[in-house]
Each structure stands twice: as C-alpha cells, then as structure tokens.
Symmetry: C2
Subunit: 225 residues, 2 copies
C-alpha cells in the first residue's frame, strides 16, 4: 500500500509538473501584448489630440492660443513618455519570452517523463492492492522507476538552471516594468503640475458686454513652463 501511495503522490506531483508547461506563460505573454498595444495606441492618440488642441486654440483669441499651444507642447511630451513606456513594456515581454524559450527547450525531456509517469500509473492501476503483483508487473514498475530516476538525474542540472534563470529573468522583467511605470508616473506628476500652472493663466474674470477683454499677459508666465 505504501508503494502505491508513494507512486500516487509522485503522480500528483507529476501532474502539477505537467500543468507547469508554457500554457499559462503563453496566455500571460499574449495578454501583455494587449497592454503594450494599448500604451502604443495611447501615445499616438495623445499626440494627435495635442495637435488638434493647438489647432483649435489658434482659431481663438491670443489668450487661448497661448495656453493651448503650451499645454499642447507638454501633452506631446506626455505622449513621448507613453512611447518610452511602451518600449520598456516591450522589453518586459522579451524577458517573459526568454523564459518561454528555455521552458520549451525542456519540452522533449519533460514529455518523456510524462509518458513514463502515465505508464507507471496504468501499471499500478492494473494491480489489485489486496493481491501480490506478478513478477513481470513488478519488473515493469521497477524499470519505469529506473528510467525516471535516470531522466531526473540527466535533467537535474538543466531544471535547476532553468529554475534559477526563471527567477532572475522574472526579477529583471518586473523590475523593467515597474522602473518604467515609476519613471512614467514621475514624468506625469511633473507635466501635470506644469500644465496646471499654464491653465491658471486662462482669464476667467467676466467681461462686460461692449468693453474690451482685459489684455492678456499670461504668456510671461506660460513661457517659463
């Protein structure tokens, strides 16, 4: 019974090993392409919007022309920052792809192990636990164990190295991602604060009908931003 329990436990472990292939990693890489694409689209669309803001402003009076031109310039800087972020996001995905390449390189040997585990499980199921196994069955089980042990030994270095590589690569991948987010967040804060100063130059005091609008002098303040 103990032998059966041991084998069952190892089979369960082998099954979790089978789940540990590149299926989930593939889905992650694909979904991250969506995020990368959204950032790239955002960079393009924000640059377009910046242009139209400035064009509209030019069709208005000098105060709105000035404010929209300066804000538009800073939005193009924001768009550039989004472009940089998209590039860094692409690097993050490259790290994940490197892990997938290494996982894939182990596929053949992992597949062999999987087949051996299936055979072992089948042999165990055929045996009636209350009766003694036939000598031939015992031999087959032993052979599978020996083959598995040999495969484990042969792949030990590669599996350990892959496990190390995966950690190192994921560390680099996520660090690249959050360094980029941090940089982008900091740029966003700076750009937003500058833009708010410019926006505050829009004259919002009411003008009496028939009287001229107060002369705009905000450009002295907006040019420093």
């Amino acid at each position: 019974m103990k032998a059966l329990r041991d084998v069952t436990r190892t089979i369960t472990s082998a099954q979790s090993f089978v789940n540990n292939d590149t299926k989930h990693l593939n889905k992650l890489i694909t979904s991250e392409r969506g995020v990368w694409h959204a950032f790239s689209t955002l960079a393009y669309d924000q640059n377009e919007a910046a242009k139209y803001l400035s064009v509209w402003g030019k069709s208005e009076d000098v105060d709105l022309t000035d404010v929209t031109e300066k804000v538009s310039y800073l939005i193009t800087k924001l768009s550039e920052a989004e472009g940089v972020l998209a590039n860094h996001y692409s690097q993050y995905r490259s790290h994940l792809k490197e892990i997938r390449i290494r996982e894939d390189s182990m596929r053949e040997q992992r597949s062999k192990k999987e087949t051996l585990w299936s055979k072992l499980e089948k042999e165990e199921r055929k045996s009636n636990p209350s009766k003694q196994r036939s000598e031939a069955a015992e031999k087959r089980i032993q052979d599978y164990h020996n083959e598995l042990n040999k495969l484990d030994k042969d792949t030990l270095d590669a599996e350990t190295s892959l496990a190390d590589f995966k950690r190192k690569e994921l560390h680099e991948a996520l660090t690249a991602q959050f360094d980029a987010f941090l940089e982008f967040g900091e740029k966003l804060v700076i750009i937003s604060k500058h833009c708010k100063k410019i926006i505050d130059q829009i004259p919002i005091t009411e003008t009496r009908p028939g009287e001229p609008r107060e002369q705009y002098r905000g450009n002295y303040r907006t040019s420093c931003c």
Copy 2:
C-alpha cells in the same frame, strides 16, 4: 480708398471669425475620444494581464506564486486607477462638448453676419475705386453696414457671454484632465515603489543542482505591501 481698406480689413477679420466655428473643436473632441478609448482599453487589458500573471505564478513554486499574486493584486489597483482616469477624461470631453453646444447656438446669427459680409465684399468689388460710386451702390453698402451693426449689437451680450463661458469651461476642462493625470501619476509612483519591494523578494541566488532551493520567507515582507 479708405472706405475700401476699412471694409477689406473688416472682411479679413470676418473671415477669421468664420474659421472660428466648431470645425477645429469637433476634430479636437473626436481625437480626445481616441485618448479616452485608449485609457479604457488599457484599464481592461491591464486587468486581464494581472489575472494571467497570477494564474501563471500559481503553476510555479511557492516563491513565484507569492510574488506574482501580490504584484498581480497591485496591477489590478493600477488598472482601477486607469479606469478612474478614463472617467475623468470623459468629464474633460464633456466640458469641450458644452463649448460646442454654445458655439452651435450662435450658428444662425453668425451665418447671417457671414452672408452680409459676403454681400458687402461683392458690392465693394463691383465699384471702381477711381470713379464715384452710384447713389444706389452707396445706399446698398450703407444698408449692409447698418444691418451688420444691428446684428453686432443684438449678439454682443451673447458673444461676450460665450467668450467668458469658453474660458471658464476650458479652464475647468483642462483642470479636470490634469488633476486626473496628477492623481494617476501619484498612484503610479506609489504602486510602482510597492511592486519593486515585492519583486525584490524573488530569490535570485543560484541553487546547486541536487540541493534544495533555500526556503522562501519573502511572504513576510510581501504581505505588508
């Protein structure tokens, strides 16, 4: 000659007035829909990617399971922040649409002015500057001027009020946009710093083949994030 110069100058001013319709504003509002859409897509895609990061992590060892789960949680928070930003961006567009509604409400009277300016220009072109205008021509020109003056007087309050409204609304629109960007930028900085602390718990020391990986204790540190 002076009368002609005056009329020409006023015609030029009227032409710039004609350019100042909602054409450019429409393009701006449309392009900003692209930006809003990109933010909404980003919020959705980032949430999806967070899920897949966690699912992949669960198929790995306890250290990677822990780190990816915590990072994934913070990415969902980032995705929520992107959703909030998209909502604020939508408010920014609403302000621009309010300006468009008010501009549109002036369309009929502006169109009348435009027609009168065209008629005046045509009449001026017909006259030969070296010769005296006919009495009938002088009268037509005078009538157009009178009509224009009356229209200007009638729309003075509305145009002044619209010019004030436009400035107030643009001020609110851009303030809404950059308050939202500032808030998002600050959230990004906080989330990124937390994530970097979690990522640093990924054990990147090499493991000797055959020896067990050092026990993971990073979860004591990652749970505080």
